[in-house]
């Protein structure tokens, strides 16, 4: 698992609403919480 104080690796992925979302477009104006999960149709 990535460590606290590490620089977050950038990424750009498609979302379920047709957007390309990148970390870079959010940083500088937003904090970001990533919720990784194994598969759709599983609990939060």
């Amino acid at each position: 698992m990535i460590a606290i104080e590490d620089k977050a690796p950038d990424f750009a992925l498609q979302d379920h609403l047709g957007r390309t979302v990148s970390l870079g477009q959010l940083l500088g104006r937003r904090n970001v919480m990533l919720l990784f999960y194994p598969l759709d149709w599983t609990p939060t």
């Binding site: 590490d6 609403l17 957007r19």
Partner: protein, 203 residues
């Protein structure tokens, strides 16, 4: 995920954009999100190459070949401030994570902008769809995920002859899906979804 959707205002107040990440496709995400009652924050497809972003964050369980149920909070300066796992079988405590985001937001001196109130979809919007049409279905999934049922009128031109006539009057042709906003028709499903997203859930 529904627990996150229910507390989105709290995350927004803490200047925090929530992103769900799994190896599922965007189509799988959209259908699942609808079944959950609508998810308006991004669910990202870490799909090609499979699990690449999870790997970059050390959240991919190589032996099992699945993504861990891991949470990473990054401040607006791009520095990781929290990283944890509840294991794939575990369950996150979303209220606790919201409190953590508030704490990290208060402690961080990096620049942040408030989430602007989205403009919303203009009154009188009508979405024309047809049956057995993947593009129509995609627009309907977006409607559900953005909680727009009842705020945008939906009519099915396959089932309703009067709706088909109304569509031809406003758009000049019976092509669906078609979103009519302020009397102007828009036909591409991607444009329709982007318009609805920008009106209700901009990043």
């Amino acid at each position: 995920m529904p627990a996150v959707e229910a507390q989105l205002a709290r995350f927004r107040a803490a200047h925090t954009q929530v992103l769900g990440v799994s190896v599922d496709s965007v189509h799988c995400h959209a259908n699942w999100a609808k079944d959950l009652g609508g998810i308006s924050f991004p669910l990202l497809a870490d799909f090609n190459p499979k699990g690449a972003v999870a790997r970059a964050y050390g959240a991919y369980l190589e032996q099992a070949g699945i993504t861990d149920r891991a949470t990473v909070i990054i401040d607006s300066g791009g520095v990781v401030r929290h990283a944890s796992s509840v294991t794939p079988a575990g369950q996150r405590d979303i209220s606790q994570l919201a409190a953590l985001c508030e704490e990290i937001d208060r402690a961080s001196a990096s620049p942040k902008e408030p989430f602007a109130e989205p403009p919303g979809v203009a009154d009188g919007a009508v979405l024309y769809v047809k049956s057995r049409c993947g593009f129509s279905r995609a627009t309907l999934l977006a409607m559900d995920n953005l909680h727009l049922a009842g705020r945008v009128q939906v009519t099915n031109i396959t089932e309703d002859a009067a709706a088909k006539e109304a569509l031809v009057r406003v758009a000049g042709k019976e092509t669906a899906p078609c979103l009519v906003l302020g009397g102007k028709p828009m036909h591409e499903s991607k444009d329709i979804i982007r318009t609805l997203v920008e009106a209700t859930s901009p990043l």
